[in-house]
């Protein structure tokens, strides 16, 4: 049981990462690899700020850090016309060094007693399981607040522009909107959320690790896809919510696999592979379905002839 409460909390915190990827991938229609380092950038920035005695301030700092990363990628792929995937890769590898520098050249920076969740638990006298429940509840409340802000935001004029830019940039330009500026703004928001997610995970685990970003893009993809598979692709509001839910479900599946020891000693080791396989399969379903459909139609025609 405890394990599943932990999964719930992790799913919620990683949920913001999924939302960030939903924004770049589904709304802006950009495969943004910046996430592979802005997650760690957020964690690093938050860890340093928190370790210096400002745990609450560390969250807005992470937001700003992520937005900066998104801004660089956005600038590269709009004004400087670098291919979107390459632009992300460039920012990503550049940020690796910066992350190390931020973390004072150590691959792992502890937050000590300044981790938000630790401070929170210290306010009450709680048993282990109560702590877990409190952590999950606080994470849930935080996530819901962020979701409400985002849902409202994507109903504003700027929000509509961001969505339209991914949908039909030509039309956006024809309605007197600066496509470049809107794309950059979208990438800033997406990466700010990813960085915030990284910061929260640092607070949750008590340290910031230079490798924490690895595989975040695929994780986010998996969460978005699982959300869509269960709740359908019906509009932005539902998409934002189902990304978080997808992230929770994914974490629960993982917990289940590890707990049941489905793959023996390799259960935990195989997690990333499993994640990649899920994403690969889901992404190829449309192509497979089309092929089967064609074969089916062919057969029918043959019979009638």
């Amino acid at each position: 049981m405890q394990l599943y409460i932990t999964a719930l909390q992790e799913g919620l915190l990683y949920g913001l990462l999924a939302v960030g990827i939903f924004i770049s991938l589904r709304m802006l229609n950009i495969p943004d690899l910046t996430t592979e380092s802005s997650f760690g950038f957020g964690a690093a920035a938050a860890a340093v700020t928190a370790a210096a005695g400002h745990p609450i301030l560390s969250l807005p700092v992470a937001l700003v850090a992520g937005a900066l990363a998104g801004f660089v990628t956005g600038l590269l792929q709009t004004k400087l016309r670098v291919h979107p995937v390459l632009a992300g890769i460039i920012t990503m590898s550049g940020l690796y060094s910066i992350n190390l520098i931020v973390m004072h050249n150590t691959p792992n920076l502890p937050l000590g007693d300044n981790a938000i969740f630790k401070l929170l638990y210290a306010c009450f006298e709680l048993s282990a399981i109560q702590k877990k429940i409190l952590g999950a509840v606080v994470s849930a409340v935080f996530c819901v607040i962020m979701l409400i802000i985002l849902i409202r935001f994507f109903k504003t004029q700027l929000g509509l522009c961001i969505r339209a830019t991914g949908d039909n940039p030509e039309m956006v330009r024809a309605s007197s909107i600066n496509v470049h500026a809107v794309k950059i703004t979208g990438l800033c928001i997406s990466n700010a959320l990813v960085a915030l997610s990284g910061a929260l995970i640092a607070h949750y685990s008590g340290y910031s690790d230079i490798h924490s970003s690895n595989g975040t893009l695929v994780y986010g993809l998996a969460a978005v896809i699982i959300g869509e598979a269960i709740f359908g692709r019906r509009g932005v509001t539902l998409g934002l919510i189902s990304s978080v839910l997808g992230s929770i479900i994914y974490k629960i599946i993982v917990t289940f696999v590890v707990q049941m020891n489905l793959f023996g000693d390799y259960s935990a080791t195989l997690m990333k592979l499993m994640c990649a396989v899920i994403v690969a399969i889901t992404l190829s379903i449309p192509a497979i379905r089309e092929k089967r459909q064609n074969r089916y139609n062919g057969k029918e025609r043959g019979e009638n002839a």
Binding site: T156, Q157, L160, A174, S176
Partner: protein, 264 residues
């Protein structure tokens, strides 16, 4: 109002693919004038529109609209006062957004702050009323995604988007060409009513010579990046399709003769 002088554009200059698409084109449009443009494939009609909208920049020449020089102005900036409808119904709208969201994008472009709610109840009423005028039943489908509409219905939404904030100039690039005859006629009807109701200045490209002569108040023919025929008033009223084609071949012949004299 619109004044184009000596507009020239060459694609891939200094290469084997060099193409002089616009050749010192001059055009003056009076306020409230509705001009139809005809010309063979590749005559440079769409390129002229691209230059007016800023999707491409001309090599030389000038374009002024109501006194301001827009020759080099960025595309999204001139979109504030130029509306454009494309031939392809997919081009003018965002497919995965709803009718009201598409309209809101166009409607609030000059009116609201970027962080204000895009669609208020008042906006919704206004969209409903505007759509109801066209009698296509779209007023009851405000929350339908554009991807679920037919080409004709999309063109109506695009037309409304382009004119919901009255533009100074409306450009229509074969905007009925992708529709079936009935839908095309309906869209032409709507176009005429929008243009006359708002006293718009408009340019419309069409391959249908008959409708070019019967729509609007002036017809020009483009050939090899220049205007070779410019009809208005009495002369245009009397013109038939056959006469126009005849006129065209006369002009072409004359041009060829001149060329052969030049090169002989």
């Amino acid at each position: 109002m619109l004044n184009i002088s000596k507009l020239s554009k060459t694609f891939s200059p200094n290469s084997q693919f060099e193409r002089h698409v616009l050749n010192g084109l001059d055009l003056e449009l009076k306020d409230g004038e509705f001009v139809t443009i005809i010309g063979s494939n590749g005559a440079g009609k769409s390129t002229l529109f691209n230059a007016i909208c800023g999707s491409i920049l001309p090599d030389s020449g000038a374009i002024t609209l109501n006194g301001r020089d827009i020759t080099l102005m960025p595309e999204h900036k001139r979109a504030k006062f130029i509306g454009r409808v494309f031939q392809d119904p997919m081009k003018g709208t965002a497919p995965s957004m709803t009718i009201e969201e598409n309209l809101a994008l166009a409607y609030s472009r000059s009116r609201k702050g970027i962080l204000s709610t895009a669609i208020t109840r008042k906006d919704r009423e206004f969209f409903k009323a505007s759509l109801a005028e066209y009698g296509m039943g779209l007023e009851d489908r405000l929350t339908t995604k554009l991807s679920l509409l037919s080409g004709g219905q999309r063109q109506v939404v695009t037309l409304l988007m382009c004119t919901i904030v009255t533009p100074e100039l409306l450009l229509l690039d074969e905007h009925t060409a992708a529709l079936d005859p009935a839908a095309a006629e309906k869209i032409m009807e709507i176009t005429n009513s929008i243009v006359s109701k708002n006293h718009l200045s408009a340019l419309m490209i069409t391959h249908n010579i008959k409708s070019a002569l019967s729509t609007g108040d002036r017809t020009i023919m483009l050939d090899a990046g220049k205007i070779i025929i410019d009809l208005s008033g009495e002369e245009r009223a009397k013109m038939t399709v056959d006469q126009l084609l005849h006129l065209y071949s006369e002009k072409k012949k004359l041009e060829l003769d001149e060329d052969s004299i030049l090169f002989s």
